[in-house]
């Protein structure tokens, strides 16, 4: 088997096994819960193994499209029309291999975790079918070899996310959240689609490798493509859907809304980095920075443990996008990887807490879990420290890389990044202290007991990754700093990966460490042993704003009500009264009216008829004679 064939086989196995599992569950296996879960998990594990083999074997190989369109395998044409053709093929380069590995790893762990977490759920089979469908679409994004294919899987990811968020569809909040997520994503996708069309018009191709040989052309195309990432990665101003998406089951939040799907936007930015002009990058970096800061501020005043994590995800995604904008896709992908590990850990940890405490999610009603759930506690603290960028944890290294990147590209963003790092450490400290320390503040917290092995196992595994992923031993950073793995850079001589200067490195490391420690310390001081949140008293209106997410939801609701809804109402009224009323009934009414008027003439009076006859005769004679 040649390398090419091996790649093709493995990539197709990785891509299609989850789909087959989903279809299998949908077609019949759904009647047997165990079988459904087994199918889904089995497919994911095999996909994981294949990804691992692929990664180990090919992580140094250059980008390759399988099946190659010109090779013995004819490319599978998805659509072909004259000069417009879309081939179904996988683009396998080191970046996609890494992403595949992340997705399948987290996917496997989350599915194992779900075995226990969802055990009592009525929609058990449906849940696993959804997860499999999601993995299929996500891997499709990772492997897509051209932009349209990418868009297709992009949409499919959106719908599987919709299905999973509204898994508990009887709950109005969950159903609404799913809808909101889908529609908000669609707004981003609208820009994405226009971007694809523009790229097609300017470059004449959608194939990513061909595009990478051409490089960036206009800022507009890049920004439109970025819109897709804004939607999917929940960047400001389309960030509103992600916190609501926490209505879905917690493992789903871990997989989709922390580790993988929301990272797809960042992945896409990194992969298509060659499409962005420097102007576009500046805008991207600021959007990322703003998101990071806003989300970090909002996270401080959340009380729902999942929402805290959701805002922290937003904030970290902002970080990654900022890194891309600062011309550091390597740093961004590095952080994406470590974030996938520790955020999945945090979410699964939160899931374990929620599971143990009978679905109590308010941290002020928890407390004292340190002793009840020792394993979960340790795992959660590991994740929190990694997220806070505690020295020598994985998050520390990746955050440093981003800060160094920002230091070189854009000094104001560097300071913003440091501030976010401080806030991050602060709110994680708050979360840990309030939820795990002190005395139990609720019935649920008092009865808590440790979760079963299916749940703690993934926690332990992820803890190890969260600690060590940044170490030099793993070689992740070196791998990403290899120029060869970035598409288009060797040809266009683009700036990535930047050689990070020593000064930048030093500045980032020192300020990052200080910010992290200071944040943790502040959190310790403010929340140690408190029964109530002291912040609202100190910050007043600002704290209220943070708690209410700076009123973005209200603003959008208002905007929507005043634009689209209002337009819809006008259109409806117009339809009902003007077109159907005046236009249609009006013209039929005019005919009716004429009929009524003419009816008056039919008086039945002989003389009237005679008179009309005479008049008619007169008219006709006049007409003919003169």
């Amino acid at each position: 088997m040649t390398d090419h064939e091996l790649k093709l086989t493995l990539a197709m196995v990785v891509l299609f096994l989850p789909l087959l599992a989903a279809v299998g569950i949908g077609l019949g296996a759904r009647r047997w819960r165990g079988l459904s879960a087994g199918l889904s998990l089995g497919a994911t594990v095999i996909a994981f193994v294949c990804s691992l083999i692929l990664f180990i074997k090919f992580h140094g190989a250059p980008a390759d499209i399988v099946p190659a369109t010109d090779a013995a395998f004819h490319g599978i044409q998805w659509l072909q029309l004259g000069d417009f053709s879309v081939d179904f093929a996988a683009l396998i380069d080191p970046l996609s291999l890494l992403m595949m590995l992340i997705v399948t790893t987290v996917g496997t762990l989350v599915q194992i975790f779900s075995l226990a977490y969802m055990r009592t759920d009525a929609g058990y089979s449906r849940y696993f079918a959804g997860l499999s469908l999601f993995l299929f679409s996500m891997l499709g994004i990772v492997l897509a070899s051209n932009l349209l294919l990418l868009f297709i899987f992009w949409e499919l990811v959106g719908v599987s996310s919709y299905l999973l968020i509204s898994h508990w569809f009887e709950k109005p909040a969950a159903a609404d959240a799913g809808k909101k997520a889908f529609i908000t994503n669609r707004i981003g996708d609208f820009g994405f689609l226009l971007g694809i069309l523009l790229v097609w018009q300017l470059h004449g191709t959608l194939d990513i490798i061909e595009l990478s040989n051409i490089g960036a052309v206009t800022t507009a195309a890049g920004l439109l493509i970025f819109c897709g990432a804004v939607g999917k990665s929940a960047q400001f101003p389309l960030h509103v859907w992600l916190p609501d998406a926490m209505e879905g089951p917690t493992p789903v939040s871990a997989l989709i809304h922390a580790a993988t799907m929301v990272a797809a936007g960042v992945y896409m930015l990194c992969k298509l980095f060659f499409l962005f002009t420097p102007d576009a990058l500046v805008i991207i970096s600021w959007i990322g920075g703003i998101t990071a800061l806003l989300a970090a501020l909002m996270a401080i005043q959340q009380n729902d443990i999942k929402r805290i994590l959701a805002y922290s995800t937003l904030s970290q995604l902002g970080y990654m996008v900022m890194a891309v904008g600062c011309a550091g896709p390597a740093a961004s992908m590095f952080h994406l990887t470590t974030h996938a590990a520790f955020k999945a850990l945090l979410f699964l940890g939160a899931g374990a807490v929620i599971y143990s405490c009978h679905h109590e999610q308010d941290i002020w009603k928890l407390g004292g879990l340190r002793k009840k759930l020792p394993l979960t506690y340790r795992a959660f603290v590991t994740g929190a420290l990694a997220l806070a960028g505690f020295p020598l944890m994985s998050g520390f290294f990746s955050k440093d890389a981003i800060l160094a990147q920002a230091f070189m590209a854009n000094q104001p963003l560097f300071y913003l990044g440091v501030a976010v790092a401080l806030l991050t450490a602060f709110y994680m400290m708050r979360c840990v202290l309030v939820a795990f320390h002190g005395e139990p503040r609720g019935e649920a917290a008092r009865d808590a007991h440790e979760a079963p092995g299916e749940m703690t196992g993934p926690l332990i595994f992820l803890s190890i990754l969260s600690i060590g992923l940044g170490w030099h031993f793993f070689g992740l950073n070196d791998f990403l700093l290899n120029k060869n793995i970035w598409l288009g850079t060797t040809i266009t001589g683009a700036v990535i990966p930047n050689e990070i200067t020593h000064t930048a490195h030093l500045a980032a490391m020192i300020s990052g460490t200080i910010a992290s420690l200071a944040g943790l310390a502040l959190g310790w001081v403010a929340y140690r042993g408190v029964k109530q949140d002291p912040l609202p008293g100190m910050l007043g209106a600002l704290a209220r704003g943070m708690r209410d997410k700076f009123y973005f939801d209200e603003l959008y609701a208002w905007l929507n009500r005043w634009t689209q809804e209002r337009l819809a109402r006008y259109a409806d009224c117009f339809d009902r009264w003007i077109i159907a009323g005046l236009g249609v009934r009006g013209s039929s009414g005019a005919v009716d009216l004429t009929g009524c008027l003419l009816r008056l003439v039919q008086s039945g009076n002989l003389q009237t008829y005679a008179l009309l006859l005479a008049l008619g005769l007169l008219v006709m004679l006049t007409f003919f004679l003169f």
Partner: protein
């Protein structure tokens, strides 16, 4: 004043026709309307007769054709009057009126 010719007769005929028409249009008694109809018929007769009288000789047909026509018109008019009056009688038996304003069952 010129010699009395065809035009004079035709003008009289036209005037008589208009009088008849006026009667049909403005009188409401069915019988009087009927008489007005007779006036109109007679106007036509007059026109025909005067045309007949003033027709130059020609190989096609005889100048008397007009008079033949009038003859038939008179016959038909007699028949028509008979039937019409019979109808009026029948109608009067039913409705006790000969006023057309009361006869509006043709109304839509």
């Amino acid at each position: 004043m010129t010699d009395v010719g065809l035009e004079h007769y035709l003008v009289v005929s036209a005037a008589l026709f208009c009088l008849g028409l006026l009667g049909v249009v403005i009188r409401r008694n069915l019988i009087v309307m009927y008489m007005s109809l007779e006036l109109m018929l007679n106007a036509a007769n007059l026109a025909l007769v005067s045309f007949s009288h003033h027709q130059p000789p020609s190989p096609h047909g005889s100048p008397l054709d007009g008079q033949i026509m009038v003859f038939f018109i008179i016959t038909v008019a007699a028949a028509e009057v008979a039937v019409g009056l019979a109808l009026i009688v029948a109608l009067y038996r039913k409705r006790q009126t000969t006023d057309v304003a009361d006869l509006t069952s043709m109304k839509l």
